[in-house]
């Protein structure tokens, strides 16, 4: 477990500037929200909150699709995998790292959302539930991107991830069959955030979260299987 944690912390550290910029963005918006009067423009405030919340899903895809590529291109992966670290542990570390990076963002957004939206009358407990949905969605999206990046370059991996997340949702929407949304429930989790409002903050529904966690584990297992066949020392250029 320790190598997994070390790789995860190392990943977060490598991405620290991207995370800091995201955190700064959240803080600036929160202060703007408070300064402009949260109670009077509460619908605008909720709209900005949702928008900022969904950015991190896109970031998790970027984190996931580029993590292995960056380590292989710089050849730093050789020093890590020359230790008693299996490829399974390496991938687990990256998934945990993506989760931690998005968790930090989710925590900051939850904290600032509780102040600003709380001032406007939005229940704080619902803010934290939405953040949980968001972090789980990010972990799943990051895992899918990581899985694709084990055999694709980051650009194609990000595109494939976007398609894998969007297609089932689109099919579900056109066929009016909600079952499709469970194929990769990132959209469903994101929609929980998007659909929340002051009038109906909603009651926490746990099934998409549990389903997303189960899928993350399944995709991680698939990634491990694929990655075990990859020649990591071969140039990725």
């Amino acid at each position: 477990m320790k190598p997994v944690l070390l790789i995860a912390v190392n990943f977060v550290r490598e991405q620290r500037w991207a995370i800091l910029v995201l955190l700064l963005w959240v803080l600036v918006l929160a202060f703007l929200g408070l300064a402009t009067g949260a109670g009077q423009q509460r619908e605008d405030l909720l709209f900005v909150f949702k928008q900022v919340a969904l950015y991190v899903v896109a970031f998790s895809v970027f984190f996931g699709s580029s993590a292995i590529f960056n380590d292989r291109r710089s050849r730093r992966i050789l020093s890590v995998l020359s230790k008693s670290v299996g490829r399974r542990q390496y991938l687990s570390g990256l998934v945990l790292g993506i989760s931690m990076a998005c968790g930090i963002y989710g925590f900051a957004l939850g904290l600032t959302g509780s102040w600003t939206l709380g001032e406007a009358g939005f229940p704080a407990s619902q803010v934290w539930f939405l953040m949980l949905c968001l972090v789980v969605a990010c972990t799943l999206a990051g895992s899918v991107a990581l899985m694709f990046s084990t055999f694709m370059n980051p650009f194609f991996a990000a595109g494939a991830t976007a398609a894998a997340m969007a297609l089932p949702a689109m099919i579900g929407y056109t066929t009016r069959s909600p079952t499709w949304e469970y194929v990769i429930p990132v959209y469903q989790l994101a929609a929980t955030v998007l659909r929340s409002s002051f009038d109906s903050p909603g009651t926490p529904v746990w099934s998409p979260i549990l389903w997303a966690i189960a899928e993350t584990v399944a995709i991680w297992l698939l990634s491990v299987r694929i990655f075990s066949y990859v020649d990591i020392a071969v140039s990725v250029e």
Partner: protein, 307 residues
């Protein structure tokens, strides 16, 4: 026999994803490295040395054949805890040298005071004790190579696999590394050393293998490979060069070769002529000569590839 590293009929082919071209980096490669030796692994660029090392470390899978590292199949992560590896191009995360070697030690399961103490020790061994608080991103290539060596030594490995460990080092640092390798051998460790610095290899290696175009073309004890035959070189002064057939005079010395069985008689003849013996050595070739001989067609081969 105790083998710490074994390659058994290994072939490795690189295939292009888009085209049907493929390149065979290793061709039915067999090699055994014994416990407690310093093994020199030589070959021209593109011979397949790094591929062989990467297969042993489990970074890639062989196209066919198999191999064992410390008794376990290649790719067994637990075994790597007992191995130290220095890659050809050292690439490290931008951290302080001390933090970095601690990170790599921790990845190998080290912790607590053992980790702290060993980090200090290895940085001192490679001469970086004064720079341990500096970020490695500001290090020169030679210093990076020394940090790379430090991280490879962190777990006090049974087997050290070093890919060009001294290529970026200054002469003083090379001597330090050479002493480190000899000390490691004395402590019972095995060292698998890939290098282009043939003089270094000649000085420290017990056995040498030469790889060429993915095939093993020469393998043997260094002393035996360097020994040419049953002749001795005698250097003397105070005699006429014409006294011995084939003798060469230079800088007031006369050098000539005699069959080993006639060595004593030749020496007595020098003395009887009023001369003085300076040295008597068995005839030897340098590793460079052997290397050039067995890889003689590589230049032509490279030109063929480029055209």
């Amino acid at each position: 026999m105790d083998f710490v590293l074994q390659f058994e009929n290994i072939c490795k082919e690189y295939r292009s994803f888009w085209s049907r071209r493929h390149f065979r980096a290793l061709d039915n490669f067999n090699l055994q490295v014994e416990k407690g030796e310093i093994f020199g692994f030589l070959g021209p660029n593109g011979a397949g040395k790094t591929t062989a090392i990467h297969l042993a470390m489990g970074f890639m899978r062989p196209s066919s054949g198999s191999g064992r590292l410390l008794g376990e199949r290649f790719g067994h992560s637990g075994t790597r805890r007992r191995v130290g590896f220095l890659p050809e191009n050292v690439a490290l995360y931008p951290r302080r040298a001390e933090t970095l070697v601690r990170f790599y030690g921790a990845l190998n399961g080290m912790k607590g005071t053992q980790l702290d103490r060993r980090a200090g020790q290895v940085l001192e061994m490679v001469g970086l004790q004064d720079d341990c608080k500096r970020n490695v991103s500001r290090f020169s290539r030679g210093m990076l190579q020394r940090v790379g060596l430090a991280q490879a030594l962190m777990n006090d490995p049974e087997l050290l696999i070093l890919d060009e460990p001294t290529s970026a080092l200054d002469p003083l640092a090379r001597v330090t590394v050479r002493e480190l390798l000899l000390a490691a051998r004395a402590a019972g460790k095995t060292i698998f050393l890939s290098s282009h610095l043939l003089s270094e290899v000649e000085m420290v290696c017990d056995r040498v293998a030469v790889l060429h175009r993915g095939k093993l073309v020469r393998l043997g004890k260094t002393t035996e490979l360097l020994q040419v035959g049953e002749r001795a070189e005698i250097a003397a002064r105070g005699i006429d060069a014409r006294s011995f057939p084939g003798a060469v005079a230079e800088d007031g010395r006369v050098r000539f070769y005699v069959p080993a069985r006639e060595q004593r008689a030749a020496m007595e003849r020098v003395w009887s002529l009023g001369g003085e013996i300076i040295s008597v050595n068995p005839e030897r070739r340098s590793l460079e000569e052997i290397f050039l001989e067995v890889t003689a067609d590589s230049g032509a081969h490279r030109a063929e590839h480029m055209s």
